[in-house]
Symmetry: C2
DNA sequence: GATTTACGGTAAATGGTTTTACTAAGGAGG
DNA sequence: CCTCCTTAGTAAAACCATTTACCGTAAATC
């Protein structure tokens, strides 16, 4: 049978209040009683019941973390950063992966709310998440991470600067003389993709190059997804000389497929990938990537959640800048 | 202000018990009252407080997941499997990464216990975890995953068959004529490493080859860690003709370093890696890996936790077999 | 017609803690 | 000696739900 504060109090011949004060140091208790109580606590290896404590204190020191595409490598690193920062701040994390399912996301937020988490860090499945406003407008702290959404009010966000990401990658390829740049992506209708496409378009426009919608290719975020995407893209658009690929797994598929088709990288088709994964350096040719800092995004988002919890008016949209890591696949 | 069952009851002119019965379907309530109550619940968007519920019911539908080396790719896939299975079973997961810190692991188990999780899935930092027995002997459900430990009683485990992993990889290299096989690993004093070394030794013994302790090299589980490990290993042992590397990041470092030293793979040194990561196929030469199924290990471990929760006597040690994925780096 | 049984509903206890408001006792100051 | 603080300790309320035990009433059974 589980031992409670009441049991300790009884054995020590004091009130539960006194035991509570000893446990939490909320009031000075005479040396003698303090020792007596502590001895009994240790004797029984008493561990206070946080659930009861949470109920009373209306706080759980737990945050919800809702991600949409675990275990994508970017998301994984981000989760790592969030978990680490949470741990440093004495918080625990309730992790849920929605697998890009919007309805399940909504259910999950409900569930986490009912579990009385102190706040939620959410990487939404889509832009269509106005259900969140019911929470945020009531002052429940929610911060958007990685992906943002224009429809939700009163929720700070921490993301990469995806416009700049699309812009920088595209501009770099344009500088190499490319005019027909394929854009391969994995998730439609989310800010990450949309903003990168905006950046892509803007870079083209600034170079007086036309935007061709057919150069955009959606695929699954897997190796095969990448292979299939590049196959159908190349079948449709013969003049492509460069590819900007938004996902590391897809990139592997793309490379396989290009080799299979005896298309040389970067001579025939230049490549820029997204996200710095370890083997980029040892692939032939070494891959040029544009990267955003997932761990920093994660850590920052937790800090923002803390700010939001402590100050309901807190409202910032933080965008972290990308870095282009130039190697050989872009033709440099 | 948060709305409670009491508020609903008041507005509906019924007792809280009745509201509870409507919410949980625990008793039949007349159509008319049922509707009246449900309408009010919807009107206020009432969400029951799980903390109060948990306190009363002594169960939280939440499990603790304590991993030691997130975001290692194997562990990440495993976490994915666990999370997915938990979700399917209506459970939530409290995720904590101990970063190979044994003391923090102990603290964490305490914390999770106090949070009244229904059980814990733990990937321990070391073999030295007898503190766990205080929990398991009291019937608190703990299952060990990925790594097991001989000192903890009454805790089922789900791991890969690491003995076989070490044995199969080594045997394969021996068949290619290799006699001096380096073994590069990242974590000392854990079952995964120890069992693989046992398998390595057994394979050597069966081939009447001597075991040389100096062929074992410990390094950090990073790209640089791999590069450093292979450098110091080769400086010490000139005759090495094959390497078995336990970690994908280290493998990348090893390949970089070997190329830097103009050592050809597999002609000069053959390679077997652990774990199937996507780019294995596009690296030159394609990497031969021995793999264990992290997602299945994860899913299974959650099922085992369910079994343990429902039956305190449940006690199984499940080991999943490895598969050798032969490509070119081993010289095949 | 007497006795069960079923049904709908509720009061109150319960879960384990925190926290407020109060008491009693001892000490200081005048 | 009286008053005023301070201090150590405690009783009880609060947190928000679930669940047991019970109470009428009406229907069913013999």
């Amino acid at each position: 049978m589980k031992i409670t504060m009441k049991d300790i109090a009884k054995e020590a011949n004091v009130s539960v209040a006194t035991v509570s004060h000893v446990v939490n140091g909320t009031k000075h208790i005479t040396e003698e009683k303090h020792k007596r109580i502590m001895d009994i606590i240790r004797k029984y290896n008493y561990i206070p019941n946080s659930t009861a404590k949470n109920l009373r204190k209306k706080t759980t020191m737990t945050a919800g973390l809702v991600v949409s595409s675990f275990p994508d490598s970017f998301v994984t690193e981000m989760v790592y950063g969030i978990e680490e920062r949470a741990r440093e701040m004495g918080y625990n994390l309730l992790l849920v992966n929605t697998n890009e399912n919007r309805d399940y996301e909504e259910e999950t937020v409900n569930l986490l709310y009912s579990k009385m988490v102190d706040g939620i860090i959410l990487s939404p499945t889509s832009n269509d998440i106005d259900y969140l406003n019911a929470y945020t407008e009531n002052g429940f702290p929610i911060v958007l991470v990685n992906r943002s959404s224009p429809v939700v009010k009163n929720a700070p966000s921490v993301t990469g600067d995806n416009f700049q990401t699309g812009y920088d990658a595209t501009t770099h390829l344009i500088k190499h003389g490319h005019k027909n740049i394929g854009f391969i992506y994995a998730v439609p209708d989310v800010s990450t993709t949309n903003h990168r496409i905006d950046g892509y378009k803007t870079a083209l426009a600034q170079a007086n190059l036309p935007f061709n919608e057919d150069l955009l290719e959606l695929g699954f975020a897997t190796v095969n997804g990448g292979a299939n995407a590049v196959r159908s893209l190349l079948a449709r658009e013969k003049d492509i000389t460069a590819l900007f690929i938004q996902n590391d797994l897809m990139l592997v598929g793309v490379i396989s497929k290009l080799r299979e088709l005896s298309i040389k990288i970067p001579e025939d088709i230049a490549l820029i990938g997204f996200g710095d994964f370890a083997s980029s350096t040892i692939i032939d040719p070494p891959i040029t990537n544009i990267v955003l800092p997932p761990e920093t995004i994660g850590r920052t988002s937790f800090d923002v959640l803390m700010s939001k919890i402590n100050n309901p008016d807190y409202s910032k949209h933080i965008e972290l800048p990308p870095t282009l890591i130039v190697r050989k696949s872009c033709g440099c």
